[in-house]
Subunit: 354 residues, 2 copies
Amino acid sequence: MTALLNDRLLRALAREPVDRTPVWFMRQAGRYLPEYRATRAKAGSFLGLATNPEFACEVTLQPLARYALDAAILFSDILMIPKAMGVGLSFVEGEGPQIERPVRSARDIEALPVPDPAKELRFVTDAVALIRRELAGRVPLIGFAGSPWTVATYMIEGGSSREFAQAKKLLYGDPKALHALLAKLARATTDYLNAQVEAGAQALMIFDTWGGILATPAYYEFSLAYMEHVVGSLVREHDGRPVPVILFTKGGGAWLERLSAAGADALGIDWTTELSAARRDTLGRVALQGNLDPGALFATPDSIRAEVARVLESYGRGPGHVFNLGHGIQPGVDPENVAAMVSAVHELSPAYHR
Amino acid sequence: MTALLNDRLLRALAREPVDRTPVWFMRQAGRYLPEYRATRAKAGSFLGLATNPEFACEVTLQPLARYALDAAILFSDILMIPKAMGVGLSFVEGEGPQIERPVRSARDIEALPVPDPAKELRFVTDAVALIRRELAGRVPLIGFAGSPWTVATYMIEGGSSREFAQAKKLLYGDPKALHALLAKLARATTDYLNAQVEAGAQALMIFDTWGGILATPAYYEFSLAYMEHVVGSLVREHDGRPVPVILFTKGGGAWLERLSAAGADALGIDWTTELSAARRDTLGRVALQGNLDPGALFATPDSIRAEVARVLESYGRGPGHVFNLGHGIQPGVDPENVAAMVSAVHELSPAYHR
């Protein structure tokens, strides 16, 4: 393997000293970039893009050509596991994901296969290997998956949801069936993430986008417990280097102390929680990643710089901070505003590491 | 005025002893009830329902005929103030509110009038007076309004939003203009709530549905500060009785200590925060209202009873708890499941007050 030329991300995740705060951002390969939209048009559909290693590699690298970022993140989707389980995934323009055969009973769950990543998810591991070659050691590559609970919500609802009626019905009405689904998803997620590491992913992130819609005991029982299972079963070293793991529960600000004991190296923090509070609550156990309000990118370069300054100050001095947004970048953002964010991190963060 | 026959709600909001925990729930007059849908059909449209005092009175009373609730809440909508400001409000079936002339610049904001509730919002105060007569003292009537920030998001976005791009653009890019809008909305909200009290509302609730999408300092500056203005300017006594005020920021679990010092009598707590944690954080300053997961109502009577028990136990012994959902009831809920919730509160809560 080629030497890694920029290891700021990995050092920060290990809470080792760095010269400045590393920066990347969720959905950095995405619709706000005209070059992404062009590749997406060539691919014909979102799934056409996500399942083709060459296209996935192309869009993964696009933001790195524009911005001096410290990491690449695999372009993919958290629903590749349900796709591989054969539930009939499609993406309808403007409506998000749709699942043809939702999973709502013990029988549905029993019938689901645990996919073999070397077969049904080969297009992902091929993309990882290709991206690693193309990156040639410039920055590390982050692999990812959805949390079992978050992926389960889509499988149960049959797509996106605002109310999660079916998922809540199962959670409160038939918790045993939900546990069976989550256990299966945890196994599949572990295999999938380990296959990404085997193919070249140098760090891993687990996205728990919908953990925050749960009551506290339900969060611990149905979301956190299964992320802990996954984290505990991951290969944490590859090619002689540690493979750090980042957990991110959107809306999980109240649960950070428990989350910090889940076995991950770092926690993603959404923009509604102050990094100073997160640092206090996590007791120095983990690095923190975040957390500019993605909505701040709709304003002006000057106001973005002021908000970047505020986020850096909230984390404060010393190692263990990875700059990021508090959630994925939104499609309507002007790419120039992103440049203002990245420059501000470059210019303002060294003071916190001297 | 007729004597109040059931003052459990008012006693609990004052943190005085009660025989059992009072119960009502957000959107109790709503689409989950077939009788509501029938009245809505008669009225022809949502606005036709909300702006007609007879229809509004009819649907306000419907849940009380089915369930032994301890309060009525005025049937209305948080967007009546923008309607009265003349921004062109309509409700499109299945798409929610739409505002014809969104407010996005200092000039737009300058041009907005502060409505006179006795004129432009007379249909609301008439509804309040009519409901009070029809209630004949059975239970108290709660009046309400949206928080200035929450109402502002609709006015800026032109309707519902998931990303709040325009609102965030104004917040970060032109905070002075946003402050001007919020100050105007705070004045209008104060006048509106005082007029509801004058017409007969016996308690008030302020719904900050979208405070939780803000970063902490932005929440304090743009949402909480204006709720404090409103609370500080309300008439807190009428007809020789105190008029308690309840503040509810959905997603505000991290800010409860600050919220508890805002001058309100009680805080609404959403279902993601444990009442035990909320009680600890609010330092005995306020009563607490909440917080069954609205999604729990999609399951079975037995599982609902178990969740009610859990919520009661989380608050614990002693006065100061009003049982409610953690957010509005969802349209697809079976009314029989609501009955199970109400019965469980009646049966299980006396033990916490002995």
